[in-house]
């Protein structure tokens, strides 16, 4: 077979250049700056900076508030990822079986996808509003007094619910297309081989969805860690007080509200390393067990 190739060196380079420059300018350059400024202590009014070495990092390690937020971020990410995946999978499995009005049903389920995170957060505020929120009313009927923005657990619950609600449609679309790519006859062969529908799901359907699930797992962890910023910001109304927040929001608060650019850079670097470790871990440990058809 004839191998196609470039005869000159500069053409492939020129073709790659736009993509490479985007990555360099918007990813590596800022990342480099973050690493650099994490070693400095910036003057709040921008009159200069002092080299402080690793002080910004060691300070964070001793900061109990930072550790508390890190711990919350871990729990928050796990909850958001688990629930948005689980609920979306359940909906997709059910929607896959709908025969009549399937298109309408699916479109309705995907609608939420178009909602921007701050809007999702705003809708969360309305739902959980102290006086008029329907979910607050619902909690009250079972005897629980829901206080968004005042009670730590209540605010955390609202954050998780809003974030999960926003993410379900994306997962739903992927799960549904994953389910529909499983050959019908494989499901039918399983029906003859196994009486139990639950057994069939976990032994045949779920393993065949594994590539989709793995992809979504990465997407969802990233979403919970970073993209829920808008939801959190809106729910906290810029008044963090004693409320729960994630590490990304803390970076924003310290850097732009607290004017501690060095400290917040150090936090960003920690986040970058965290994501790096997470990605390596995911590909090394989980992907090996996945069967791609």
């Amino acid at each position: 077979m004839k191998r196609a190739g470039f005869t000159t060196v500069w053409l492939p380079v020129a073709l790659l250049l736009p993509q490479l420059s985007i990555i360099a300018i918007f990813f590596y350059w800022p990342a480099g700056w973050a690493v650099q400024s994490s070693f400095y202590l910036q003057d709040p009014f921008g009159f200069g900076s002092t080299f402080v070495g690793l002080d910004n990092y060691t300070d964070l390690g001793r900061n109990t508030e930072y550790l508390r937020i890190a711990w919350f971020t871990v729990i928050y990410t796990c909850l958001v990822t688990f629930f948005s995946l689980a609920i979306a999978l359940l909906l997709a499995v059910k929607a896959d079986k709908v025969i009549r009005g399937a298109r309408t049903y699916r479109t309705l389920l995907m609608w939420v996808y178009a909602v921007a995170p701050p809007v999702a957060g705003f809708m969360g505020i309305m739902f959980f509003d102290q006086r008029t929120g329907p979910i607050t009313d619902l909690f009250q009927t079972v005897g629980s007094d829901f206080k968004l923005g005042v009670n730590y657990t209540d605010t955390a619950t609202a954050m998780v619910i809003a974030a999960v609600w926003k993410q379900i449609p994306v997962n739903f679309i992927f799960f549904l297309s994953g389910l529909q790519s499983i050959p019908k006859s494989v499901n039918e062969a399983a029906i003859i081989d196994n009486r139990s529908a639950t057994g069939r799901f976990w032994q045949v359907t779920f393993p065949l969805l594994a590539p989709t699930t793995f992809f979504l797992l990465i997407i969802n962890i990233t979403y919970a860690l970073f993209d829920t910023f808008g939801i959190i910001d809106t729910l906290l109304k810029g008044e963090p007080g004693n409320n729960p927040m994630t590490l990304v929001y803390k970076v924003f608060l310290d850097g732009f509200r607290g004017n501690d650019l060095g400290g917040s850079s150090a936090q960003s670097v920690i986040l970058m390393v965290l994501v790096l470790i997470l990605t390596v871990f995911q590909f090394r440990l989980i992907e090996r067990r996945i069967h791609y058809t």
């Binding site: 062969a189 003859i192 065949l208």
Partner: protein, 348 residues
């Protein structure tokens, strides 16, 4: 091993489409029955109703002594081989074959023994630890067979299992499947649209058309005494010649007056006269003129296409019979003639 009885089994979809009209037949213990027909004739639907993958909307289905209309597919004691094999892509060959047994509570040792036995029977022993994606089409087909055989069911169902294979492999697998079925003696229903497969494999053939049974019979019966013009033209390659003719005064004649045959005591009126291409002989001084336009050379035999009484006609001769395009005369074997009613298409 079981007798399978269909008592007016039919399928009507919710939109009112009747895919299978109420059909009744009985399959004897150990018999190999082939359902054949053009696409959309309802043969697959019928098979899937037997499997339990499609709901039966009319009639009763019995496998063995038991009515199974409302029995779960997994409890019908059947095994099915699908057109695209339907192997579980994430499982090894060993697990694919053993999956049905595992879910029926067979012990691990017993499963391993049975899988080994089935693998040996199908020459799969070397491949047990491979995934389906690492197998060729023929090997996948064998795994699908192994999955059916290992369960030792009372009924095998085959849904066009060979249509994804190339011609050579298809001929080989055809013989293997038939031999395996003979050896195991399991009652089998086999769906195909390929009339050669139907003829070569079946103990009995059921020809379906438009959701209705056209004819049930042994391959020889179907071939030599088709019950309708549909069966006559569907079975056999090239199909049976059908000539529009007229019966009068004890004779069958085409429009130009050529005498084709004696009509015996059939009623006066129009008729479709059928004759298989190989039942026509070229005759030096025959009574029936035949105008050959194309000679198809097939090696072992020749097909002569042309016109008889202004209608398309094909004659099948051996390789030793010389033939060239042009006028000649033919002789029709009187005992091989079939008569069909032009209105209903049924044999008279």
């Amino acid at each position: 091993m079981a007798v399978v009885t269909l008592n007016a089994v039919g399928k009507t979809y919710p939109n009112g489409f009747e895919a299978v009209k109420p059909s009744s037949f009985t399959i004897a213990d150990g018999e190999f029955v082939v359902l054949v027909g053009p696409s959309g004739c309802g043969k697959s639907t019928l098979l899937r109703m037997v499997a339990g993958l499609e709901e039966i909307t009319a009639g009763a289905l019995q496998i063995g002594e038991r009515e199974v209309n409302d029995v779960d597919p997994a409890d019908r004691d059947i095994a099915m081989v699908f057109q695209n094999y339907a192997l579980y892509p994430h499982m090894t060959v060993r697990k694919n074959i053993g999956y049905g047994l595992k879910n029926r509570g067979t012990s691990t040792d017993a499963i391993e023994a049975k899988v080994q036995e089935a693998a040996k029977m199908l020459n799969l022993t070397e491949l047990l630890d491979r995934k389906p994606s690492q197998l060729s089409g023929g090997q996948r087909q064998r795994v699908a067979m192994g999955r059916a055989v290992v369960r030792d069911p009372s009924l095998f169902l085959f849904d066009e299992p060979l249509s994804n294979l190339d011609a050579k492999l298809r001929n080989q697998m055809r013989i293997e499947i038939k031999a395996l079925q003979r050896r195991l003696g399991v009652t089998s229903i086999y769906v195909t649209h390929d009339q050669v497969e139907a003829m070569t494999m079946a103990d009995r053939i059921i020809v379906l058309n438009g959701g209705e049974i056209e004819q049930i019979g042994t391959p020889a019966e179907i071939y030599h005494s088709p019950a309708s013009t549909f069966v006559a033209s569907f079975m056999g390659a090239p199909p049976m010649n059908l000539i529009e003719a007229w019966i009068e005064d004890g004779a069958v004649r085409v429009n130009d007056g050529t005498l084709l045959a004696s009509s015996g005591n059939r009623t006066v009126g129009p008729v479709h006269l059928g004759i298989r291409p190989e039942d026509v002989q070229l005759a030096e001084n025959g009574q029936i003129p035949f105008d050959i336009s194309i000679v198809e050379e097939l090696g072992a035999r020749r097909l002569l296409h042309g016109e008889l009484g202004g209608q398309p006609f094909t004659v099948h001769v051996g390789k030793d019979v010389p033939a060239t395009a042009g006028q000649t005369t033919v002789h029709l074997k009187p005992e091989s003639l079939c008569f069909f009613d032009p209105k209903t298409g049924k044999a008279t």
